[in-house]
């Protein structure tokens, strides 16, 4: 088993990051803004509807968007889909965390298929948000575009969480094996292994 450093060891430098919060509940927006401010973010824009958010996103470049999935009419999930359909790459590939509360059975697929980098369950505690932002920053998933889906590759279980992050598969062997620490076996030694 490989011991990896946990996220405690990472620092985040978000002082110059520009982050958008989208949601129709003012108190929840306040909470997110306060958390981000505690992480050192100084440029936070808030929008109360999907249409307002998309207008702002088209005009400016953001580093991250936190979107409430439960805005009236499932607008949160639709907004993510709209973002993923944009032609401007910096917007289409914008890192997005969708935040959701209770998820109805009917909405499970909407959450999975909207194209967000992460769907995070409420209650969203500061440590969870910090971990997710670090995870997102270290995320190396490829971006997939096809008829039915645009967004980061959802086959995350094939490689588990990024190095150093806690998670269900954090003890898996890493695909990043690094440099060899010993000399290669000779062909004779390999042949001996197979009898």
């Amino acid at each position: 088993m490989i011991r990896r450093p946990n996220s405690q060891g990472f620092c985040l430098d978000l002082a110059t990051a520009s982050i958008m919060i989208v949601g129709d509940k003012a108190n929840e927006q306040d909470i997110l803004a306060q958390m981000l401010s505690g992480f050192g973010v100084t440029t936070i824009q808030r929008r109360a509807s999907a249409s307002e958010a998309l207008r702002a996103l088209l005009n400016e470049t953001f580093d991250l968007a936190l979107i409430d999935g439960e805005m009236k009419g499932n607008d949160g999930y639709e907004l993510v889909k709209d973002i993923r359909r944009q032609t401007k790459e910096s917007l289409r590939c914008l890192p997005i965390i969708v935040i959701r509360g209770h998820l109805k059975k009917n909405d499970v697929f909407k959450a999975r298929d909207c194209g967000a980098n992460f769907v995070v369950a409420k209650p969203l505690l500061p440590q969870v948000l910090f971990d997710r932002i670090v995870w997102l920053a270290r995320d190396q998933r490829r971006f997939v575009e096809c008829d039915t889906y645009v967004g980061p590759d959802r086959r995350i279980k094939a490689f588990g969480p990024p190095l150093g992050m806690k998670g269900r598969r954090s003890d898996d062997l890493s695909e990043h094996v690094g440099e060899a620490t010993e000399a290669n076996l000779s062909q004779d030694a390999i042949n001996d292994l197979f009898g």
């Binding site: 996220s7 405690q8 990472f10 620092c11 985040l12 430098d13 978000l14 002082a15 990051a17 509940k25 108190n27 929840e28 306040d30 909470i31 306060q34 958390m35 981000l36 401010s37 505690g38 992480f39 050192g40 580093d63 991250l64 439960e70 790459e89 910096s90 590939c93 890192p95 509360g101 209770h102 109805k104 059975k105 009917n106 409420k122 209650p123 969203l124 505690l125 500061p126 440590q127 948000l129 910090f130 971990d131 932002i133 670090v134 997102l136 920053a137 270290r138 995320d139 190396q140 490829r142 971006f143 997939v144 575009e145 096809c146 008829d147 590759d153």
Partner: protein
């Protein structure tokens, strides 16, 4: 259209590493900032509890809009309670959301099951000390059992 794979620039990648704020400091500052919102959010939670009671009083049979409004209000309580030390209330609100989403699927209404949730949530709102944790957990467990029972009954009746 064939699936197209690409590796876009991760704009956040350069923001993680040795520079900036550590997790311990960031979380401590964020928690302190959130704490400044306690009073407003407690008021909001209490208003939502009251709203749930009013909605229940005005609902006598299944109505999609009424169930949705109850659901949204309960979901709002679930979303913030745990941030202010009301974990058990949050779980009670989650249980009510689960119940209401089953009402929506089966297009049924059961005022008694909602009332049990609201009465229990009223109690859970007041049980916020460590000494009350076992009692609160027992109440929440009963609510989840009630929802499971309702689900099994609905499934059995087709």
């Amino acid at each position: 259209m064939e699936a197209k794979f690409s590796t876009p620039v991760n704009r956040l990648a350069s923001r993680v590493g040795g520079r900036g704020v550590t997790k311990i400091d960031a979380v401590a500052q964020a928690s302190a900032n959130v704490e400044t919102l306690r009073e407003d959010n407690m008021t909001c939670i209490d208003q939502n509890l009251e709203k749930l009671g009013n909605l229940l009083s005005s609902t006598s049979s299944y109505s999609e809009s009424a169930v949705q409004e109850l659901y949204d209000t309960s979901n709002s309580i679930f979303g913030t309670s745990a941030l202010f030390g009301l974990d058990a209330l949050g779980r009670g609100a989650y249980s009510l959301c689960e119940l209401l989403s089953q009402f929506e699927l089966a297009e049924v209404w059961n005022a008694a099951a909602v009332k049990i949730h609201l009465d229990s949530m009223g109690v859970l709102r007041k049980l916020n000390s460590a000494d009350d944790a076992a009692k609160a957990a027992e109440i929440v467990k009963s609510l989840f059992n009630l929802v499971q029972h309702f689900e099994a009954k609905t499934a059995a009746s087709g």
